[in-house]
Each structure stands twice: as structure tokens, then as C-alpha cells.
């Protein structure tokens, strides 16, 4: 006679599930699993302590680096400001070579002007 395995009730299904999901019975297995769990927890905690210490060191390091960057930026900005000021001063300062001949041009002759120009160079 042929019958449907699963319509006879759920007991066969439950039995099959129990076989499939049976946990290891040996005591040695559980001892080994316990050791594995404790070892894993200890290792992860060690790593976590290491990271915490590193994070503690990183924080002041980052603050110092940020302060250095700020100081360097300020120094650079200041030096750029000084350079610009010097360049401006150079630009507006009277140039003796170009001004003198033009101011004297009216009072001296062409020959004298040429000599003055040559001497001024």
C-alpha cells in the first residue's frame, strides 16, 4: 500500500526535522565549542582594547596635526600679505632713472639730455 508520508499527521515531519537538526551529542564537542567561544571572545576583546588605545592616541595626534596645519596656513597667508605689500611698495616708489631725464628735459638741451640719460644708466 502506498500512502502520503506527510498527510498522516505531522509526527513524521517532526521526526525527520529532529534527525536533520540533531545537535551533536558528544560531551567533547561541547567542551571544544566552549573553548572556541571563550578564545574568540578573549581575542576580540584584546583587539578592541588595542583599538581603543589607538583611538586614544589618534585623538591628540589629530588635534596636534590640525593645529600645525592652522599655524602653517596662517604663516603662509602672512608671508603672502608681506610679499604683496613689498611688491606694491616697489611699484609706487619713484624710479630715479626714468624720472630725472623727464624732469630736466625742459631745462637742458638735446645733447645734454642724451649725456644725462647715458650717465643715469
Amino acid at each position: 500500500m502506498t500512502h502520503d508520508r506527510w498527510t498522516n499527521g505531522d509526527s513524521e515531519l517532526t521526526d525527520a526535522l529532529r534527525v536533520l537538526y540533531a545537535a551533536p551529542a558528544e560531551e567533547s564537542y561541547w567542551n571544544a565549542l566552549e573553548a572556541r567561544i571563550l578564545d574568540y571572545v578573549a581575542r576580540c576583546d584584546e583587539r578592541s582594547v588595542w583599538w581603543t588605545e589607538l583611538a586614544d592616541m589618534i585623538r591628540p595626534g589629530l588635534i596636534a596635526a590640525a593645529a600645525l596645519i592652522l599655524a602653517a596656513s596662517l604663516a603662509m597667508a602672512r608671508s603672502e600679505q608681506l610679499e604683496a605689500r613689498n611688491a606694491y611698495a616697489t611699484l609706487i616708489a619713484p624710479s630715479p632713472a626714468s624720472v630725472e631725464p623727464s624732469t630736466r628735459a625742459a631745462s637742458v638741451g638735446d645733447g645734454d639730455m642724451a649725456i644725462h640719460y647715458l650717465l643715469s644708466r
Partner: protein, 184 residues
Amino acid sequence: MTVPAESAISERAIVIAAQRGSDEAFAALVRLHQRRAYAVTRAIVLSHEDAEDAVQEGFLHAHRALDRFRPDQPFGAWLYRIMANAALDLVRRRKVRDADELPESIPMPFRDPAESGELRERLQAALTRLTDRQRAVIVMHDVEGFTHGEIGRTLGIPEGTARSDLHHARAALRRLLQDIRSTS
């Protein structure tokens, strides 16, 4: 899963010692709960190896969260919830990794399905067709003997949902395995 009052008191003492940093106390908690923890994770994941990994991960989470546990609460319920979450996380990660689709239908072998190896394979395949939660509920109930209430607390679902998941899981397995017939 009822814990006698005396052992509950001693467990409470162990938990408090573990919270104060005693490694021996934590080891005792692992010894006390690892079988049940394995049963919870095994119900959710698809393999024995994954269940071991989830138990390991679950105990790590529990160790890190131990100071947040209130000793007046049942430790087992708290721990098994963590285990269930660790197992569900593992299942999610595996799904992302193994992006391969499951076959649309379960292969129908021509050999005698009553052969135990084959029957096991078919049942295993059928179980993969259930939702993670349905599979967890039916295994926790039928294999491990959890009550609907315990299943609900562990998986973070209402008791009624656990009950209806069990009903749907059984119906789905019956449907998926209906072609397996044995002669008697």
C-alpha cells in the same frame, strides 16, 4: 525551558559576577547556555557550521553588552534574543554573498525517496523554500520544544505570529514534499 528557582538564583549570581568582569563566571554562562544557544541559531541558519559561527558571534555580543543587562530579567531570554539576531545577521550576510538564485523547483529524483539520505536532502531543500522566520519557528517548536511565547520573545515577534508562522511552515513543507511517498 523553565528554570528552577534555585538555579535561577545561582545563575543570577553568576551573571552579576560576569558583569563585574569575572572570566570564570562568563565561562560558566557559556557552559550553561551554549546548547540552547546552538539550538536557536541552528534553527535560523542553514548549516551546522553557520550555527557554530553564530553562537560564537552571539556570545561575543552578549559579553560586550553584559553591563547593559539587568540581572532581575531572565538571562536566557536576553541571551537567546542576541543569538537569534546574530544568526539572522549571518543569514543576511550569506544571502548577499551567495547571490545565486535558488532553483525554481526542487529537483524530483527518480530513485526511491524513502532512502534516508535522499529524504534528508529533499527536506533540507524544502526548508530553504520557507522564509527564514518560518524555518526558525518550525525548528524551534518541533525540534527544540520551545513554546510559541518563547519563540516570540526570542525572535522578537508576537506569540500569535509565531503560531501562524508555524502553521504556514508546516503547510508549505507538506505541499513541497507531497510527492514523496513510501510503501508500507
